[in-house]
Symmetry: C2
Subunit: 196 residues, 2 copies
DNA sequence: CCTACCGATCGGTAGG
DNA sequence: CCTACCGATCGGTAGG
């Protein structure tokens, strides 16, 4: 049994913040999770809130990297949209605790930190909006589409995945992405090309 | 300046729980919100957690009533779906604090209460699933539609409304409902009947 | 990473 | 609805 690294502390904090919330997690509980005293955590970190910021920024970086990779990909808007969605799903499934903390606990940050996190969120949202607008320009999506509103609704679907999706359930990751894309592009009433 | 009623306490609790979370709200703060001491709250309630349950159950009842009214309405699936969505929007916009507390703070309830709230949530979700399945039966929605999955995605959109929608913004309530219905039925690529 | 501890605050009760 | 409290717990520091 070796000592804990700072990364261990951040990972354990993500687990507890995701499960019980920031205010619902005490430093003593976090210490217990790592097999040490709450006070010992302060040799790794400077404050509880700085720890929250670490967790949240880790998630923000992952989402950033995913969006950057999608936007750097060649292809039409539909293909790029699928990569954007698949990247989001990967982040949520592979880094569930950080993603949840990012989505639900950012409000507990102080004003300056929260502002920076919201900026990340806005930039991420703009990536979606851009690809949606490209799709309209390409004549691939409805010309009367509002990319801002559509982006919000697509992201609403993506940001709720952590509330219901189980990677070990009947729907594998790729099928999840396909379902979302199909729902978003064809809708409830849409007639898929093959069926028309 | 008259005394506070129990309903006042529940309403104020909804405000603070929605804004700062259950664990982020102290009884002394709640008292301050109402112009009295934290300890005085206990003449209205029995515990902080019972207060959370009051707020959450109020929201659950509103959602229940909305779904019941929609399902009691005559008409085809598309019409019933619109009523279901409009009812949800009404609850969220008119009872924002309770809706937020319902969505984000139910996990802080004890096991038995949380279980009951989740049952409410499941029943509500089934109402959506039922109307979606009706639409498939009527030949109005895609025959390959998975009503369970589509219900989750529609509800994901609805449950995120409180995170971005401002009733005093450019989009009024009815336009919001229309946008959601259009997004969900026609999708990004769907060709509206008139444009085909 | 530990023990020992700090002042502040927590939910809640007693007794008016 | 108030004052006066209760024991427990909070985030964090000092000093090894």
């Amino acid at each position: 049994m070796s000592r804990n690294s700072r990364a261990d502390v951040v990972a354990a904090a993500g687990r507890l913040f995701a499960r019980n919330g920031y205010h619902g997690t005490s430093m003593r509980e976090l210490g217990r999770e790592l097999g040490l005293r709450g006070s010992s955590l302060y040799s790794h970190i400077t404050s509880k809130e700085a720890l929250l910021l670490d967790v949240v920024e880790r998630a923000a970086q992952l989402f950033d990297a995913s969006a950057a990779a999608a936007l750097a990909t060649e292809g039409n808007a539909e293909r790029r949209l699928r990569i954007l969605v698949a990247g989001h799903v990967d982040v949520v499934v592979d880094h569930l605790d950080e993603a949840r903390t990012f989505l639900n606990e950012a409000r507990s940050l102080d004003d300056a930190s929260r502002r920076r996190v919201l900026d990340h969120r806005d930039r991420y949202e703009r990536s979606f909006r851009r690809v949606l607008a490209e799709g309209v320009d390409e004549g691939r999506f409805r010309s009367d589409l509002d990319p801002a509103l559509a982006g919000i609704m697509l992201l609403s679907i993506l940001n709720a995945i952590d509330r219901w999706y189980r990677p070990d359930g009947p729907l594998d990751r790729d099928a999840l992405v396909t379902s979302i894309i199909s729902f978003v592009i064809d809708g409830l009433g849409g007639r898929p090309v093959a069926a028309n």
